[in-house]
């Protein structure tokens, strides 16, 4: 049994203008200790998927369906107090913006100790000791004195380290990281990713890494989901995504990766804007931006289907296999050419 089994997850928000289908039928599973990367543009539903699993969407005006089985228990149908006992204990989350994710009026130590005491029968002293231990593990210098400091006395990178410490303090089986490096400067990003990977090794947690950076995925993920407009476009083990991408959107993402020595004047971009989830395009949601769009793409939403010969590789595109393999090979060829150049 997988640690987390998400089956046909849908999250719809009721707004004044209509229903926003933020997540529209997403399925995946995560095994213990594994890393799943969810890639996609802003607004593609990656964050909402994870917030739904954590039960952190506002209850008002939100409709959720499908299943999210965590160790066999459906998180979506769980009673509030049961979910609370799992949250922060068996399953924890790191958020995008470390600058606003910590409470400004409580000290770092108090916020870490709170996480310990909420789930364990620990004295204040024991909780504080555990907090200090974690702060040291995530590499906060002079942790003994900094534990008394407040969030505003920490830099962005240091705050994200604190968030990581807070998420891991109860040794969770599943860690969800929602673009943990987006708000940090570049030099910090690699350090934080490395730290997450290191902590994952030490604690043996499974990780769901939400990102819009394929490079991050290539480095740490075992499996990858490419999301587009609330749906899964492509889903595969990481080497298959990078060695045999099957969806035009995945191609677009790969094509827009900056390359150091390719002689292109500008970065390649995917034309157009991500679609409105209030009124998604008819047919395949990617068709208005797709260079390979055919008449059928404007009529029918392609189902998620297995790639021939690869049983754990799924894609949702109407293109014929020959064209896909051809474009895929060409794209990889351009990377290979760059590598030898």
């Amino acid at each position: 049994m997988a640690l987390l089994d998400v089956i046909d997850l849908k999250t719809h928000f009721k707004t004044g203008d209509g229903i926003v289908k933020a997540v529209d039928g997403v399925s995946f599973s995560v095994d213990a200790g594994q890393t799943l990367g969810i890639v996609g543009e802003s607004g593609s539903g990656k964050s909402v998927t994870c917030l739904t699993i954590m039960g952190l969407n506002a209850k008002r005006n939100t409709a959720t369906s499908g299943q999210a089985l965590f160790k066999g228990e459906d998180l979506l149908k769980m009673r509030g107090d049961r979910l609370r006992r799992i949250r922060g204990n068996d399953m924890a989350m790191i958020f995008q913006d470390p600058m606003t994710s910590l409470n400004p009026v409580h000290s770092i130590g108090k916020q870490l100790a709170e996480a310990v005491q909420l789930h364990n029968d620990a004295t204040k002293k024991q909780a504080a000791a555990r907090a200090l231990e974690l702060l040291k593990q995530v590499g906060i210098p002079r942790a003994e004195s900094r534990i008394y400091d407040y969030p505003h006395q920490f830099s962005g990178g240091m705050r994200q380290r604190v968030m990581i410490a807070m998420a891991l303090i109860n040794n969770p089986d599943l860690l969800i990281a929602d673009e943990p490096t987006t708000a940090l400067d570049v030099t910090m990003q690699a350090q934080i990713l490395e730290l997450i990977a290191k902590m994952q090794r030490e604690y043996g947690s499974a990780v769901i890494m939400i990102t819009h950076d394929l490079g991050v995925v290539a480095e740490i993920a075992d499996d990858v989901i490419v999301m587009y407009a609330a749906e899964v476009a492509e889903q595969a083990p990481v080497d298959r995504i990078f060695n045999n991408p099957q969806h035009p959107y995945t191609w677009g993402l790969m094509g827009s990766l900056p390359r150091l020595n390719a002689d292109v004047e500008r970065l390649v971009q995917i034309e157009g804007q991500p679609p409105s989830l209030l009124h998604p395009p008819r047919g395949c949601r990617f068709n208005p931006r797709c260079a390979y769009a055919m008449p059928v793409c404007r009529e029918e939403d392609p189902p998620l289907a297995t790639v021939p010969g690869e049983e754990s590789h799924f894609q949702a595109c109407h293109l014929d296999q020959e064209t896909k393999d051809h474009v895929s090979a060409e794209l990889l060829g351009s990377f290979a050419g760059e590598a030898t150049a």
């Binding site: 922060g88 958020f95 606003t100 994710s101 409470n103 709170e114 909420l118």
Partner: protein
């Protein structure tokens, strides 16, 4: 911290000079000779001159002001440096010491203001928080309607209405007046004590509190709603904190910070005299004295109230600053 306090004290002194100087200048502009008023109907020029001299109003304005400030400064060098009690002078008309007027009036205003503060906070806190937690619920809609009514009701109108219905028609409450909290206070022969005090102040408390109640409900509701959508509140939930703890530890601590500031300033301001409420209920507090002495042209009394009110505002702003630094680490540690 010490540097900060010194700076505050200097500001307070500067503020005091400015406020009293403006007060003095304003009353000089009023074409009303206090000596003539004090002299009465059968006034002779000789009497007028003597009264003017006694009151000091025959001297130039800057001399009068200098004398006023001189009496106010709490230390003296004549006969060796020593501290003295600030003296606000005497009323032009009753010859009563202004210090004494303030000492009698201040407890009345304080009783009114602090009672009203407790009343409005007791109502505004739970209602503001509850309607923020359940936006657009029946409670929230009722509350927002009540807020609109509350901010629209002038204390004079409300006071008269309450007096008419609750004191005159249904004789539940006394028609105005004040009963001292301690037997030493109040007028001779008048009943005093906690029950009488609260009984006399119930309607004034309510009258003064209604407007603030409405303003504070709205403010608390808005603050709580704003903080509820903060990322760190989501973090607290992600940690597995139960809702009650999220509310107490993570939402309210942050949402009530600005309320503390407002409350401090409002208390300071109200202690200068709740003019309308005191006038309607015949409470002889600072607001009542202000109205009386402005009408009569009794400059020393008006200035006395101004000095007291300014002091209160300065003191309460200082209390707010200290409190704020104590509860908000961002200020304390910067």
């Amino acid at each position: 911290m010490i540097q900060y306090l010194i700076r505050r004290v200097f500001w307070a002194i500067a503020l005091m000079f400015t406020v009293t100087a403006i007060g003095f200048a304003l009353f000089y502009l009023v074409p009303k000779d206090p000596a003539r008023v004090a002299c009465g109907k059968s006034c002779t020029p000789v009497m007028l001159k003597r009264i003017s001299h006694d009151l000091g109003t025959d001297r130039p304005l800057y001399v009068q002001y200098a004398k006023f400030v001189g009496k106010l400064i709490p230390f003296s060098f004549t006969g060796g440096p020593h501290f003295k009690y600030p003296n606000l002078g005497h009323s032009y008309f009753s010859q009563q010491s202004v210090n004494q007027i303030i000492t009698q009036a201040a407890p009345i205003t304080m009783s009114l203001v602090f009672g009203a503060v407790i009343l409005w906070m007791l109502v505004a806190l739970p209602i503001g928080i509850l309607s923020a937690l359940r936006p657009r619920s029946l409670l929230d809609r009722t509350t927002m309607f009540g807020v609109l009514v509350g901010v629209s009701m002038h204390p004079v109108w409300l006071g008269l209405l309450l007096l008419y219905f609750l004191s005159d028609r249904v004789q539940l409450f006394p028609i105005g007046g004040y009963a001292g909290l301690f037997s030493s206070g109040g007028v001779e022969g008048q009943s005093t004590g906690l029950v009488q005090w609260a009984y006399h102040l119930a309607l004034p408390w309510f009258t003064l509190a209604v407007l603030f109640m409405a303003i504070y409900v709205r403010m608390i509701r808005a603050n709580v709603m704003e903080v509820m959508s903060e990322d760190y509140v989501r973090t607290a939930r992600a940690k597995g904190a139960p809702e009650s703890r999220v509310l107490r530890q993570h939402i309210l601590r942050n949402a009530l910070l600005p309320v503390v500031t407002m409350l401090g300033m409002d208390i300071g301001l109200a202690l200068g005299g709740a003019v309308f409420t005191e006038s309607i209920y015949g409470l002889q507090g600072l607001g009542w004295w202000t109205v009386q002495s402005i009408t009569a042209g009794d400059t020393p009394t008006v200035l006395g109230v101004i000095v007291f009110a300014t002091t209160m505002i300065i003191v309460f702003n200082l209390i707010v600053d200290v409190l704020y630094a104590w509860i908000d680490p961002r200020i304390r540690l910067s």
